[in-house]
Symmetry: C2
Subunit: 334 residues, 2 copies
């Protein structure tokens, strides 16, 4: 089982999740052999359901099913199952321990894979509005399912797309980790939000809606490059309505979210040539002060010694210029 | 000129440093063509001094010289000059500005390259003790030189080695950025240190000196894998003596630092097969409470959506096991 360790003196954490068989020589080439698998041997493809752990939720024609040991659900739209190499595992009631002032606790939590199509090679930007809207509903369902579990403090929902963005299998999927601690990034934000006693994201919405960093908007959401972008072409998607998590989103809100997300991914593909990217949901279902947002980051620059040393970033394109390229593309690109 | 922008509501920063000619298509292949140059066209090689900006400090046989427009110093040991594409530039007295609550200031500061050998292809771990000790003295000199400049709050000194660690030129060098703000990572540490009113690093030294995470030690320094390592084979080098920055280090301390640093790099080379890596000095010359430390991180795992979403890390090898491999290598490897 993995272990969650606290920093010597900061409220920061790492999860030590050893893959048992790894030897140092495996680390030496760790990045070389990843993400190269073709569809022939893909674990995530429709028809290969026996090769994964039992699915916890299978979405098919708008209904939810589960695998049983006797029978795996076939012909699904979206399929969720525990990660075969989980960073966290569902063994509750494990005690924290402290030794010489060092704090650790067993790696309790959940680590799930969300496979987003049975077909190998599909891309999110090619989804129909119906399909992408269905996926946003899956994201909401899975978030809610884990939020309500005992001792879960945060649900991290994200996509790694492409080898340089950390994807180890190149079949369309996202991941969810349900954590027993509030991560430092969110804790820091929440502390400031509680101090200023009004929602900074609502103010950001109003500011960016008419700024030169706006890329796309619909009745419910805006997409923009943030004023202090951590890397080239970083994009935030933010809702007009103050909602704290996906669990607070209506079907209409999710439909509009899927639509604007697809726009940005299409534009990334055309302007940047299908870059590797990550997207991450920032949400706190138990803190109504928090304002859900989705952030996208193409992985076209490397965080190097300066970023590791300072926690600050050097960005070689202004958010205004990045926005103008994406906006221009969305206006004329199709 | 670049711009330093503050986050919407957190005390975090990014530097917008546009390379003027870049178009979106350059970003699409930004990582592909980097770090590939052979020695024939290398800007950093001895003999090619005309191809860089004028050197600010040239170290040669233990003395310091400067280039003049008429004459560049030849046959040097270490050579420091302004980065040709600086993230920050020395134009003082520029005003901060605020617009719609968004804060920015001109990118004042210094960005220097430290070339560590005139010979292409040399590696730090092959330096003699005399050479590595000389380099540590250069690090101290350059840190002190920038610490004393007006409106400089932090000197970031780091090495990017290998393309995956952010190096764009594969000739042995480090970089120094002198910043007009205290970076959030250091500010957060300092806040806690001032609150607990004793040095946590002195406690860490005492704890790790006898722990299973110890890799190497000499009379002045220990090298160990930190309890909550952010990635595989992360190593910290920490001094027995409480010093706040390189400026506080005696020649003897620097000699011993060079020696232990070389040990770790040698061991990385043998155990991990010459991985790309970063090392960074954490130092605060104006805060005597702070305790200088040097951190090394091989770039053999990718920070993906989870790390971006939470600021926490998943590490697939325990620090204890990583330390045992490096320790074993240093005992028997040579």
């Amino acid at each position: 089982m993995s272990e969650i360790r606290k920093h010597y003196f900061l409220s920061e954490y790492c999860i030590i999740a050893e893959e048992r068989s790894k030897r140092p020589s495996d680390f030496a080439v760790a990045d070389e052999g990843r993400g190269k698998n073709g569809s022939e041997s893909c674990l995530f493809c429709g028809g290969a359901e026996e090769n994964t752990p039992l699915a916890t939720a299978v979405y098919k024609n708008g209904k939810i099913y589960s695998d049983t040991p006797e029978k795996r659900v076939r012909n699904w739209d979206f399929r969720c199952f525990p990660n075969l190499y989980p960073a966290l595992s569902p063994v509750p009631d494990s005690p924290k321990h402290e030794e010489n002032g060092l704090q650790a606790e067993p790696g309790y939590g959940f680590h799930e894979v969300i496979v987003e199509s049975p077909l190998h090679g599909r891309r999110l930007e090619d989804f129909s509005n119906f399909e992408i809207s269905g996926l946003m509903q899956v994201y909401r369902d899975r978030t809610c399912s884990y939020t309500s579990r005992e001792n879960i403090r945060y649900v991290s929902l994200f996509k790694n797309s492409g080898e340089k963005a950390g994807a180890s299998i190149n079949h369309l999927h996202s991941q969810l980790l349900a954590l027993p601690f509030c991560p430092p990034l969110l804790a820091r934000e929440l502390k400031v939000i509680r101090k200023i006693e009004k929602c900074p994201y609502c103010a950001i919405f109003n500011l960016e809606k008419t700024s030169s960093r706006l890329i796309s908007e619909n009745s419910e959401w805006i997409a923009f490059t943030p004023y202090s972008s951590m890397g080239p072409f970083e994009v935030w998607i933010l809702s007009r309505k103050h909602v704290s998590s996906l669990g607070d989103c209506s079907d209409e809100l999710l439909f509009a979210l899927g639509h604007i997300l697809k726009d940005i991914l299409k534009s990334y593909g055309r302007v940047l040539g299908n870059p590797p990217f990550n997207y991450m949901f920032y949400q706190l279902s138990e803190a109504p002060e928090y304002h859900l947002n989705l952030r996208l980051l193409p992985r076209i620059s490397i965080n190097a010694g300066f970023e590791l040393n300072t926690g600050s970033y050097i960005n070689t394109i202004s958010p205004e210029r990045a926005a103008s390229y994406l906006r221009e593309d969305l206006t004329h690109g199709e």
